[in-house]
């Protein structure tokens, strides 16, 4: 094989971010070596630790692989047939990509909130109780549903219409319903993939306040397009960028650190340009 004749997209660039040394205990240690979609190298060399009870925010331009990395953390990407993951995701010391691990079980511990609010077409109550029923929870459903809706800051608005369809709510309410559904089963980690991008500013504010509340109980991973959102809620920030130097579009981690440091005193020039808004 002639390496020069067939350009190798897996070597688009050599920049590897300095390893971020977390201050506290971590819940997930994500060490991406390479993520492929078929032949296409989507993400390379990204080490992201998630600290317990903190919000780790992912920022970066479109196509930089931040959502891909986040969705790899509970094996949602397994649903894409051509997806291939090289590396390890250590969750409390177990690699969730080990052969013996059942991805369905992983997703019960590591919950997810998606970009588009996606309640099921069933009642508000059933939406929240869905995960409990799935786990064959025996006990007081009403109390659990109420707690989850209270924690999602939605209880006051829906307590008199729990029988109504989840789809009858407004966009912001639907997203908080999805958060309630995700936290009803008390997962350990909550992954949020641009949870506010389909919401108006008021609903965004409510969801952000909610994230800060949720941080007390859960460890949160947040992908956001909005840098201000990262500064408002992120404890640590990981900046991803995309390398288009050699035909491919491969995302990689540029810099990670405490949010204040990443935004006020970035170590990398690329980060500096991005947080100043010089490109996006």
């Amino acid at each position: 094989m002639n390496a020069a004749a067939t350009p190798d997209v897996s070597n688009t660039s050599d920049v590897v971010a300095a390893r971020y040394q977390p201050e506290g205990p971590t819940v997930i240690d994500c060490d991406v070596n390479k993520i492929f979609y078929g032949e296409f190298l989507a993400v390379r060399d990204s080490v992201v630790p998630f600290e317990k009870n903190k919000i780790t925010a992912f920022i970066g331009p479109s196509g930089c692989g931040k959502s891909t990395v986040l969705r790899s953390l509970n094996r949602m990407n397994d649903l894409i047939p051509v997806f291939r993951f090289e590396g390890s995701v250590m969750y409390h010391g177990q690699d969730i990509y080990a052969n013996s691990v059942d991805p369905v079980v992983v997703r019960r511990y590591i919950g997810m909130v998606f970009q588009q609010p996606n309640p099921f077409s069933m009642s508000i109550y059933d939406n929240v109780a869905f995960g409990l029923r799935l786990n064959k929870f025996k006990g007081d459903y009403d109390a659990k549903v109420q707690t989850a809706l209270e924690r999602a800051a939605l209880w006051k608005e829906v307590k008199d219409k729990l029988k109504n369809s989840g789809l009858s709510l407004s966009g912001g309410q639907q997203q908080r319903l999805c958060i309630a559904r995700a936290i009803a089963t008390e997962p350990d980690v909550l992954l949020m993939d641009e949870p506010c991008s389909a919401l108006d500013p008021i609903a965004t504010r409510q969801v952000e306040d909610l994230m800060l509340e949720l941080r007390q109980r859960f460890t949160v991973g947040l992908v956001t397009h909005n840098m201000q959102q990262a500064t408002r809620v992120g404890d640590t920030t990981a900046f991803f960028s995309v390398d288009i130097s050699k035909r491919g579009r491969t995302g990689y981690l540029v810099e990670m650190g405490p949010t204040a440091q990443v935004f006020e005193d970035p170590k990398q020039d690329l980060t500096k340009e991005y947080v100043r808004g010089e490109f996006s």
């Binding site: 998606f114 077409s121 786990n135 369809s165």
Partner: protein
Amino acid sequence: MSDVDITAARAVDEPGFVRPNLKRRMLEGRAVKNNVLTVLTWIIAILAAIPLVSVIFMLLMRGGTRLFGADFVEVLTALPPAGFEMGGGIGPAIVGTLAMVGIASVISVPFGIMAAIYLAILGPTSKLATTARFLAKVLTGFPSILAGVFVYAVLVANFGYSPWAGGVALAVLMLPTVVLAAEEAIAQVPQRMKDAAFGIGCTRTQVIWKVVLPTGLPGILTGVMLAIAGAAGESAPLLFTALFSSYYIESLSAVNNPTASLSILIYNFSGMPFENQIELAWTASLVLVLIVLVFNILARLFGQPKD
């Protein structure tokens, strides 16, 4: 073309400004063309409705006298009359039609929905799915009499006429409709709902049972109802499979158990030289149309999104 000067609107302050004329002018070329075409579509729509309305009118006039008359209970329950006999009814035919449509549904609905799940979710692009989908589309245009011949060769030649043979023949005709409608309904369940279910820790089976099927249910039911409505009116596939009988079916036995049906009763009685039988054929036609109508209305009701 147009005598409206658009630039005039900008010249408000200038001398010689002419206010643009926005009035409707009926004799303008495009207005005339518009009106002519509108009237034409009305006329064609009415012409298209004439056969349908006249058939229903005729059915009501000739079949309605018996069905809505004083002896409607006898008409709906009594056995069909023999030649020269007066009175009588179409009871066995109604029961037979419902029984065979029921058998056909019991066979085609579970098969159809499971096939649709495979086509829409499990292997939408696999070779098997592409082939099955193509065959289902071909089968929707399958001549119904051939379904009867097929079942005759497989079942009737071995076990004799029976409601099961009739039901299987109808099931063959219903299956493609159910499969294609259910596949469509299942495929329309948004991906984000399936993502949500996977994200909360569902296995693939749980995603299908708890999210995809309940969400797609209205569409699936619409397809099932339309298939049932179509099957209820079939006569050709029943000629070779259920034959006919003047008596109520006593059992669902699949061996030598000829069964009456409305469509065959209509066929038999309409050719008889007796006024009474011909009148009953009209009544049976009306009953059949009403049954089909009920299933069509049910299909529309189920198809409506509930909130």
